[in-house]
């Protein structure tokens, strides 16, 4: 059943974000044409269009994630979602996984587009971009332990994935709580307030933990080791306390959302 939920979630998501990706492809195509034919005025316009659409991808994706969750569970479509023979946990998992996919895709699109613009801009001022990339790759390859570089990449990618999951869990919990009876009659306002309060409190807690709980991960050529000091010599130091905190809070948000769905949500 989870596979079927994911399939249908992806279809629904695609209908929400397809247009902005088509717009982005069109803007990039116009820019490529203008560069190929060296039409300066069209290059200027299409460059602005590409930047606007690239930011639009991120904004539309986030709106789509929020809107899809609220509409399919707590508005009329909720009458369908909650009468499917699946658990609230399965519904949440499928939605979270698909939201994660769309947000990650929007980040990659944003990085790709701005990377392309950066390449174009530096190329215009005479930078040898391709040569620089080749030098960077060869430098990495010559490092005494390339495994350490891979470890750094894995740790950083995991950190980004956790950040995205944390954001999704926070959004889902705020929306679910705003659909519990005391807040249900107001529109989006309770969800926005709950999200803002949670965001403020959790960011403060996370910063506090980073500053006062000196648990860290040291990545060096010898491998990964944990340290109980904030500063450690001989490698790249990453805070761990706030990561553990975010992981625990993410789990609590998902559990809390499922609990509210099972015990406190009455569809309007």
């Amino acid at each position: 059943m989870v596979g079927k939920l994911i399939k249908n979630e992806l279809k629904a998501g695609l209908h929400s974000v397809a247009n902005i990706y088509i717009a982005a492809a069109a803007a990039v195509a116009f820019m490529a044409i203008s560069l190929a034919f060296e039409i300066a005025w069209l290059t200027a316009i299409s460059l602005i269009a590409v930047i606007v659409v690239a930011l639009g991808i991120l904004i539309v994706t986030l709106i789509s994630v929020v809107s899809n969750f609220n509409t399919t569970l707590f508005r009329d479509q909720g009458y369908l979602s909650f009468t499917l023979p699946v658990t609230s946990g399965q519904l949440l998992f499928a939605k979270a996984l698909c939201s994660f996919f769309w947000i990650l895709l929007s980040y990659l699109a944003l990085i790709g587009i701005f990377g392309g613009i950066f390449y174009y801009a530096t190329d215009q001022v005479g930078e040898e971009n391709i040569a620089m990339v080749k030098i960077l790759i060869s430098t990495m390859a010559e490092l005494p332990d390339t495994a350490a570089v891979i470890k750094v990449v894995i740790v950083l990618v995991t950190r980004v994935f956790l950040k995205i999951t944390f954001l999704i869990a926070e959004i889902y919990f705020a929306i679910t709580l705003s659909n519990v009876r005391p807040f249900q009659r107001q529109s989006f306002l309770p969800a926005i307030i709950i999200f803002a309060v949670l965001f403020g409190v959790l960011q403060t807690a996370s910063a506090f933990l980073t500053a006062y709980v000196p648990l860290s991960m040291v990545i060096s050529v010898e491998g990964i080791r944990f340290s109980t000091t904030a500063m450690a010599a001989g490698g790249m130091v990453l805070g761990v306390a706030d990561v553990i905190f975010e992981f625990v809070i993410t789990c609590l948000f998902f559990w809390g959302s499922a609990w509210l769905m099972n015990h406190k949500i009455n569809l309007k």
Binding site: K4, A12, D76, Y79, P85, N266
Partner: protein
Amino acid sequence: MSKIIEVHGLQKSYGHNQVLRGLDLNYEQGQIIGLLGPNGCGKTSLIKILTGLIHDYEGTVLIDGKAPGIYTKSVTAYLPERTYLPEWMKAKDAIDYFQDFFADFDKVKAMDMLSRFRLDPNQKIKTMSKGMQEKLQLLIVMSRAAKLYCLDEPLGGVDPATRSAILDVIMNNYADKSTVLISTHLINDVERIFNSVLMIGEGRVKLDASIDEIRESGRSVEEIFKEVFSFGW
């Protein structure tokens, strides 16, 4: 015959407003039950509890011997009083969606009814009129071979000719030995199809009788309804 609906001491409140005050119901399989009562008497709340949409109630509710959950949702077909299909879907997408999730869904039957209702499988739900959307929902729900059908106001807001067509769809398509619970205000139009009538008011059962018992009294369902609720509720 096994019980499809068992309800004991069911109570439900919205804040200080108690809409169900200790309901007791028992229905065996193979009946068409008319759920009648004035506005706000708790008909929709009762249906939402039976279909697993409301969880914070007191009392015992069993569907086919099980508390509302995954199993009961797999054997209960629910038609709410509002349109619940995603607007981006085409009619055929909605049919595929139900086929994905319900093992008892009959796609051939759904496509057949779609053409008899003259609905285009490729038409987006967003572009359909409210009447077309209601027809699509009804045919999808009635394409399931469920043990229990819960139909909340299936005749609300449609013209008399469509009402008749909707009743025909319900009568011709519900699965053998299944039970159909129909909530409605339009007693005249539907009393011919009921086996049993359940009237609720003030959160309590006002009348729970078979249609034979009602006929023996020499009165119609509508006459009894007016008598039961003549002084308000």
